[in-house]
């Protein structure tokens, strides 16, 4: 039995290239007692993973020759453990590989009473997984929202941003998205039901565009992008405003990122800025997943997946994130 996997072939310099990754076959050893063989069906591609390709980030750098990390879902095909019965759908951090052998650690079975109907199994690595939970805890814990406040979200058509906007709406906030291009803007308005959405590509002055949509200022900026978009938001924050640093996709490929120019308003407007790594909230994941599932099932929270076909497509699907190709959660199916 062998698995196909993608490993890190070279540390990317700037935007990752296809040649930074290499496909390999890996012979899998026979199953031991207590183990199961999982056939992976979907793997995620995540902009936040970019940092670990170059150096130490929230976790140590990925080694050259190691399997590229990602979340995935799969099915148990052979089992020698009662923890992972054959036929079970499971999720875990399998990486970019077609098969994995697991003793059950770090692998969760998908509860059929949750993952069915509107909550598709792929949601386990999307709106019910890291992106959705980042939106949930970033907004609720660091954003400290109060009903009636104004929430601005960058990368509003992405999986984190779209979920943050909708949770904001469900908590009674006025919601404004920032997205690139007419199709994404329409999605944010029509399907995500934000109160407003700014197409940053159509603006010569993003700060001024935000001012038009939020003339009284922004209470919470939920940022997935960084750089110029973060600066434009800072100039529009209300006194006491909170900035949640969820992602900085415009910055990950830069050796020295652009950063922000406007720190002085942190004094004059008493701003707060904080970042999060969602794994810190692990104990509260069940609470958040139950709420998200209930919102999905009653039709108040929608999610979209951008599913690319074919194991060979993994590097290109990842690289395309930095070209803003995706609308919704990008997964690769194989």
């Amino acid at each position: 039995m062998s698995a196909k996997r993608w490993v890190l072939a070279a540390r990317p310099d700037g935007l990752p290239k296809p040649s930074d990754f290499r496909a390999e076959m890996l012979d899998l050893p026979p199953l031991k007692d207590g183990e199961a063989l999982i056939r992976i069906s979907h793997a995620s591609v995540d902009p936040g993973m970019r940092g670990r390709l170059t150096g130490d980030s929230y976790a140590p750098a990925l080694g050259l020759g190691e399997t590229v990390e990602s979340a995935g879902i799969g099915e148990v095909v052979t089992s020698r453990t009662a923890k992972l019965p054959e036929g079970a759908l499971v999720t875990g951090g399998f990486g970019w590989t077609t098969h994995a052998i697991s003793d059950g650690r770090g692998v969760q079975m998908l509860d059929p009473s949750v993952f069915g109907g509107r909550v598709r199994p792929t949601a386990a690595i999307g709106v019910m997984g890291v992106p959705g939970l980042t939106a949930y805890f970033g907004l609720s814990d660091l954003g400290q929202p109060k009903g009636g406040e104004t929430l601005l979200v960058s990368s509003a058509a992405g999986p984190v941003g779209a979920t943050a906007l909708q949770i904001g709406r469900l908590l009674g906030l006025k919601t404004i998205g920032i997205a690139g291009g007419g199709a994404k803007r329409n999605y944010v308005l029509d399907e995500i039901r934000a109160d407003a959405c700014i197409d940053y590509k159509a603006q010569s002055d993003l700060a001024e565009a935000i001012r038009r949509e939020a003339p009284d200022g922004v209470d919470i900026f939920f940022d997935n992008v960084g750089g110029e978009q973060l600066d434009a938001a800072i100039l529009n924050m209300k006194p006491g405003g909170r900035i949640v640093i969820s992602g900085q996709v415009s910055e990950y490929n830069a050796a020295v990122p652009r950063g922000i120019r406007w720190v002085t308003p942190f004094i004059t407007k008493r701003l707060r800025m904080a970042g999060l790594v969602v794994y810190d909230y692990r104990k509260r994941f069940p609470e958040a997943q139950a709420r998200i599932a209930a919102w999905i099932n009653d039709g108040s929270l929608s999610y979209r997946e951008d599913i690319i076909e074919g194991f060979e497509a993994l590097p290109a699907a990842f690289i395309g994130l930095f070209n803003h190709e995706n609308l919704g959660r990008r997964l690769v199916k194989f």
Copy 2:
């Protein structure tokens, strides 16, 4: 009776110039019932006031032709109100003027049981006033210090930084200052009794110099400077670290400030950054002043004043702040 005052003559473009200020004589009206005439003896010069010379900041912009704002101390010379008895020493936001007429609003009498001995009257606009209170509330409220943590402070020989370092020491923190030049470094080590002090002018790589002094990282960065010093600190923060934005003196004269490059560590290291305007803590000023006075009186907290002589020196004394001339709290005596 007339007063001499300095008014804003032109909005500074970059570093303020002497010609941005104009000295004027102002005829004072006769005292009415309920008023007192105060002769000002000392006025402060404050880097944080720079923002209001150009545009709206934490308070609306200063108007052209208006008296430059500052804190001051003085003596009541003539009084028609029991609130301000003749001979009393008082403090208030008098601005750069030799005399002021007051009905008592915004003016406090200096309590002789507090302001005597080691706590000199001038401390009312220094370590017991805005700079000292900014250090106290910035460190205690936004810094959230826990005994044994490592505190890094920029502009460590300035009135805010030197007080923050000492309060940090008194709260059981390991204290590291950043200051420019050997004289300031010696002051921070010998008189402020910080555990270490980095002369940034003697470093080619400030981030590396911080790493040598704090190999395990910095828990709290109390920043009065901004720009490159803030970036160097961010690269050395521990996970969960707090950054207190007290001042950004390297940024105030720039039309578009330098800002910071490193926002991505806010995610990977779960950093928090927050700014303060000390007036938000007004109700707690007495509590803080009592603690600061007690520390001064028992010899555990020292403060230094850099007193320039002569009313005419006010603009130059202010401009000199941005050339890092001052060691300790700069006041002008007249």
